[in-house]
């Protein structure tokens, strides 16, 4: 047995759970630092056909990183920035190990300061150009900045700014994927494409992997449900969002963009949800340069109001006036203050046309005010988790139930009506927030007891069916992991789930990677037979 593999003990208990509050188990655990370490661990585990769950910061909300038996490979020590290059398009690309933490990478990029030990001369030359260039940023901004890049790519994360910049997928330009036999598939965007629905992937040390792609059509909405497949697709897109089921990413290359000169945030308060939805529709129609359109309903605002009263850490939250029933946060990314001002006035017009009031807004035009608005946004999920943790002390079986579904634009009003009717019918406490610009709301059911928890799960299954009928996605940014695997079958049907499993088989014939992620166990048996 490799020295890199450690037997499980209680010292590693924290590695058995993630932010979804799901708890798993593993017989062994490892913390590789290099691609060679990963290969050594795979080799040592191969004879026993041990399943491997790759995990990083464990900030995921779908339990994709929680091991259900076998080996947990934690890649947080693969945390080096490996190099930089400048593309022919003038953009910079940074190459990292998958355990690099997003907040650290953001800081490195902002300060233009990297640990360059072991960098090639080409990378160092690119760094000199990078230092002389305008400020740059990585546009994917999940709320959880302690996430690792590997996790972000594994679930195709997005965040508030995905309204303009889309999900992480569009900003991932290269991946090295290690297969179960230790072989590497190195992919760079724009280099390997499918022929129709078949991929031929060259392995680095010779040989080709023939991959039959599933035949389903993906929804035309924000989507992180199952594998990305399309006719003649770029091969790298299959790896992004594959939930750790195809192999182990050992390197990732990210595309950076020039930072907009003016980033302004606007929180607008409304006295009714209807007016807020109307405002969102107007914004989509009339205002450009909008990076984010986020929503907070009265349930979310009330949780913040309570936290502010009782928790000193939230004392700096600005007061929300008592009449406010909901809030829409919009963020402008413009090339200068003049154009931002023009767009700000356009937002004002949309507010007036939706029955709101320009006076009832908070505008952040400097770093300090933006931090205030970001603190407000981040405090919502944090406060909700704290509230649920308190309830778990009484009933440990309950967890927060968070929906992550999206629908096409034309169904925004319908989907909100669906959520409201369901919550009322089942008598459940809730807080709704999230990416309303993409019709992607996180409906968080806050169970008071086990009975509520059961009812909430039933309601989600019901919503998954209706949302599928609307042409939506059951997971828009958190990935499928273990928690949403049953919904994936609702969305695509058994036949397509089998196709997905057959495709996984081409990469991972032993079905060792990501046990329990995406597929029910019986599907694996059916494919392997």
């Amino acid at each position: 047995m490799s020295q890199l593999i450690r037997k499980y003990s209680d010292d590693y208990a924290e590695y058995m759970r993630d932010e979804s509050r799901t708890t798993g188990y593993a017989e062994t655990i490892s913390f590789p630092k290099t691609e060679e370490d990963v290969r050594e661990i795979l080799g040592a585990l191969a004879p026993s056909k041990t399943s491997i769950t790759v995990q990083a910061a464990r900030t995921g909300l779908a339990a994709g990183a929680v091991p259900f038996g076998g080996h947990a490979m934690n890649i947080v020590r693969m945390n080096r920035v490996l190099g930089l290059r400048k593309g022919e398009n003038g953009l910079f690309y940074v190459r990292v190990q998958p355990g690099v933490i997003l907040s650290q990478l953001k800081k490195d990029i902002e300060e233009k300061r990297f640990d360059t030990k072991g960098w090639s001369s080409e990378s160092l030359a690119a760094l000199a150009e990078f230092e002389a260039a305008s400020e740059q940023f990585f546009p994917t901004d999940p709320t959880e900045t302690s996430a690792c890049i590997g996790g972000i790519v594994a679930c195709n994360a997005s965040g508030a700014r995905s309204y303009l910049y889309k999900s992480a997928r569009g900003h991932i330009s290269g991946v090295r994927l290690m297969l179960s036999d230790g072989g590497i598939i190195a992919l760079r965007r724009g280099c390997v494409f499918a022929k129709g629905r078949t991929l031929e992937l060259p392995k680095e040390n010779g040989g080709t992997l023939i991959v039959p792609l599933p035949s389903y059509q993906m929804p035309a909405t924000k989507n992180a449900s199952g594998y990305y497949v399309a006719d003649d697709m770029d091969a790298i897109d299959l790896i992004i969002g594959s939930d750790g089921t195809l192999g182990i990413m050992t390197e990732i290359e990210l595309e950076l963009l020039p930072l907009p000169a003016a980033i302004w945030g606007v929180s607008t308060f409304f006295d009714s949800e209807k007016k807020a939805i109307h405002f969102v529709q107007k914004m989509r129609e009339k205002v450009s340069n909008v990076a984010a359109i986020e929503y907070f309903d009265v349930g979310a605002i009330n949780i913040l109001r309570d936290q502010k009263k009782t928790n000193a850490a939230f004392a700096q939250l600005p007061d929300v006036e008592s009449w406010a029933a909901c809030c829409v946060y919009t963020e402008l990314h413009c090339h200068g203050e003049e154009s931002a001002l023009e767009k700000l006035y356009e937002i004002g017009v949309c507010i007036a046309e939706s029955g709101g009031d320009e006076n009832k807004t908070w505008v952040a035009r400097n770093a300090r005010d933006l931090e205030q608005l970001q603190f407000f946004r981040h405090a919502v999920p944090e406060s909700t988790n704290m509230m649920i943790d308190k309830r778990r002390q009484i009933d440990p079986a309950i967890t927060k139930l968070g929906a992550d579904m999206s629908v096409p634009d034309e169904y925004l009003e319908d989907v909100v009506a669906l959520y409201r009717a369901g919550l009322e019918e089942y008598g459940l406490e809730s807080a709704i927030w999230g990416h309303i610009g993409d019709n992607h709301l996180h409906v968080n059911i806050l169970p008071r007891d086990g009975a509520d928890f059961k009812k909430g799960k039933e309601l989600y299954a019901k919503w998954a069916r209706v949302i599928t009928d609307m042409g939506g996605a059951v997971s828009a940014e958190h990935g499928v992991g273990k928690i949403k695997a049953p919904f994936l079958e609702v969305m695509y049907g058994r036949e397509h789930i089998i196709e997905m499993a057959k495709m996984k088989y081409a990469f991972d014939p032993g079905f060792i990677f990501g046990r329990g992620n995406m597929f029910p166990a019986d599907v694996q048996e059916e494919v392997q037979l």
Binding site: A261, V266, Q316, P318, D319, E337, L341, L344, Y345, I347, G348, I351, D357, E358, N359, K360, T361, W362, V363, A364, R365, N366, A367, R368, D369, Q372, L373
Partner: protein
Amino acid sequence: MRCVVCIKQVPSTTKVKLDPVTKTIIRDARQSVVNPFDAYAIEEAVRVKEKTNGSVSVLSMGIPATERLLRDAVARGADRALLLSDRAFAGADTLATSYTLSLGIRRLGAFDLIFCGKMAVDGDTAQIGPELAETLGIPHVTDVTEILELGEKEIKVRRATDEGYEILKVTLPALLCVVKDINMPRMPSIAGIRYSQAAPFEVLGAEALSADIARTGLDGSPTQVVHTFTPERAGECVQIDGDCKTQAVKMLGLIAAETKTAEGGN
């Protein structure tokens, strides 16, 4: 109650950069913000205005780009903005600055309360408020955490001290230097920003203020900054891995190497 707020443009605290040649702070308009303590002064003045149906004038001595921050103060509730800008004011220390500000305040007309932030985060002197009050011949209170009572002729305030708090009564007109505990500054609204962009804006130079040039700028500054520098980062963090024994051996090795270097390689 007629309030005046003095504000200063400072570099964003997280991004202070020094020109490697001139050793002066690079003042990039985009990276500049209102001094964080002054934001609390603006908010407190606007609260006093709202309680007393009064007015707020906001004043700064600075480069023309300071207009952006003065208009921002108007967006947050100030009624009038005045910028004191002239080459003759450049290089001013706290004495020359407080003299120039006193001229601007007299130009604004009668006042009851002047608000300043505790200090500016670029200079860290905390001298402007007290010096300005002395120049104007009015009382002042530093480190104000709360206005307890607002009367027509006097106010009662709480100030933080090293030992705790003091409650003080002070006759008006007076000057208050406020700290961050005093309030939670509001953000401007879109309506406020529209108003501020269209609001009249005054800029006055040395001549318009009838300033004694010998008391302004570099000429009026008994103190001068001779040299500014970024301290060298000393020390490097080394991570030691392995079991206890391995770590101890590696650590001893590092200490031995350091000792050798310190002893001149012998």
